[in-house]
Structures are given as C-alpha cells and as structure tokens.
Amino acid sequence: MKQQTKLSQKQETVAEQQTQSNPAREFANSDELLRFDAAQTTVPPEIARRLEQSVGGLPEPKTNWWQRLLGGTD
C-alpha cells in the first residue's frame, strides 16, 4: 500500500515535470499564434549558401537610386 502511494506520487511528479516542460499555451487570436509560429521557425542556412553561389556569377547590382543621390558609388 505504502509502495503504491510512493509510486503514484512518483507518477504525479513525472506528470508534473512533463506539464512544466511542455506547458499548454493560450493565444489571444490567430495573429498571436502565427507570430509565435514564425518566431519558432528558423531559416535553413543552406539558403544563404545557395544564394551566395547563385549571385557569384552575376554582375553586382546597381547602387540604389537614393544612394547615388547621396553621393554613393555606382
């Protein structure tokens, strides 16, 4: 009996820990939910590598019109 109590206490603790490690969340609306989802999303570093390769053979883009206006190089 004592052992059973101990076991159920242990089970409760495990359940509690699981709840704490993965707590339920509440979002006010879809905006908040999507914002959370976006923040969790990581950009694969592969994209930057591929992009670097792709632009490697291209001529440099022209300087922006406003940079030229401010005396930047073209």
Binding site: S30, D31, E60
Partner: protein
C-alpha cells in the same frame, strides 16, 4: 563593400555550420546593402513561403529565388514602399505563380469559407494549444483549409511591422476592405484550428 551576415567566418563543413549557426543565415556578398537586406528579412520571407507552399524544401527554393530576384532588381528599388513590403511583393507573386501552376495540374476547387464564417468559434476566443511540438502541422492544416486570400491576409497581418496600408497595397484592396475580410478570416481560422486537435 563586403557585407557579412550571421557568423564571422564562413564554415566549409555544412554539418558544422548548421550546428553552430542553425538559427542565423550566413551570407557574404559584395554589394551595397543586400546582405543586410537578407539578414533583416529572410526569416519573414521564409516563413511566408513556408506557410503558403506548405513544405520546407519548396520554401527553401522559393526564398532563394525571391532573394535572387531581389538581388537582380536591387538597383531599381525606388523606396516607394518599405524594403520588407517590396520583398513581400516579390514573394507573393512568386508563390502565386507556383501555386497557380500546381492548381492547374491538380484541378483543386476553392475553399468554401461561408461554412466556417458562421461556425460557433469566434475570432476573439483564445486559441488553446496543449502540445506546441506539432503546432506547425496544425497551423499548416488550418491554413490549407482556407482560401488563398484569407491565408495571405492572416500571414501578412501577423507581421507587426507591416501597416494596414502596406497590407492593402500588397493584396490590391483598400485598408477598410482588408479589415473587414480579416475579421472573417480570423473567425474561419479559429473554427478550422479547433478541428485540427
């Protein structure tokens, strides 16, 4: 000018690079301001393409293509809109073309939103999530059930840096029309989301 993003040194080993800087894009380009553009907006563009196209590898390709287009057109960017809105426009057009060709091949009929607009779930009811691990899948399933227009509106309005006027310009409607449709879109999203549990 050399611009570097993410890490100090580019790592040759892709596995090490992914482990060390998985959350940070790595890009080194000799161009005025383009690397900063990528650093500042790649997450938003990747997220938009991911949720519009539904698959990570498609979103990777699309994000690459969007920034490549932006690189080629960078000199023509006049600053009439914010750089973010400009990139969103390129991304929306790109995804729209991809989806159109996919729809043409698969004869998909549009979602009927009216069913969900009258559903019990209200847009101002909180959305409860017990398990965040599979949240992305639930969100994708919910968005897939909505019309293209509602998907886009919800994804754009979730970006707090975009104004209603910018969103309206991106979807080609008035700001008032956007507000009205958003109300219905949120309601439809909430009703669908509840069903994905």
């Amino acid at each position: 000018m050399v611009c570097q993003i993410g890490v100090e040194i580019l790592v040759d080993d892709p596995i090490d690079a992914a482990a060390e800087g998985a959350d940070r894009p790595v890009l080194e380009l000799e161009s005025d301001g383009f690397a900063e553009l990528y650093q500042a907006h790649s997450r938003e563009i990747f997220y938009l393409t991911l949720r519009l196209l539904g698959e990570t590898h498609k979103a990777e390709d699309a994000t690459h293509d969007v920034f490549l287009k932006a690189y080629k057109k960078w000199g023509d960017f006049r600053g009439d809109s914010s750089a973010r809105a400009w990139l969103y426009r390129i991304a929306i057009n790109h995804c729209s073309n991809l989806r159109q060709s996919w729809h043409n091949r698969n004869l998909v009929t549009g979602a009927d939103e009216s069913i969900w607009e009258n559903a019990a779930a209200a847009s101002d009811s909180p959305l409860r999530v017990l398990e965040t691990k599979e949240l992305g899948q639930r969100i994708q399933k919910t968005l897939d059930a909505l019309s293209d227009e509602y998907q886009l509106l919800l994804l754009l309005v979730a970006d707090e840096e975009l104004s209603y006027d910018e969103i309206a310009a991106l979807v080609g409607q008035s700001a008032d029309a956007v507000r009205g449709k958003l109300h219905r879109a949120r309601k439809a999203f909430a009703a669908h989301f509840e069903k994905t549990v």
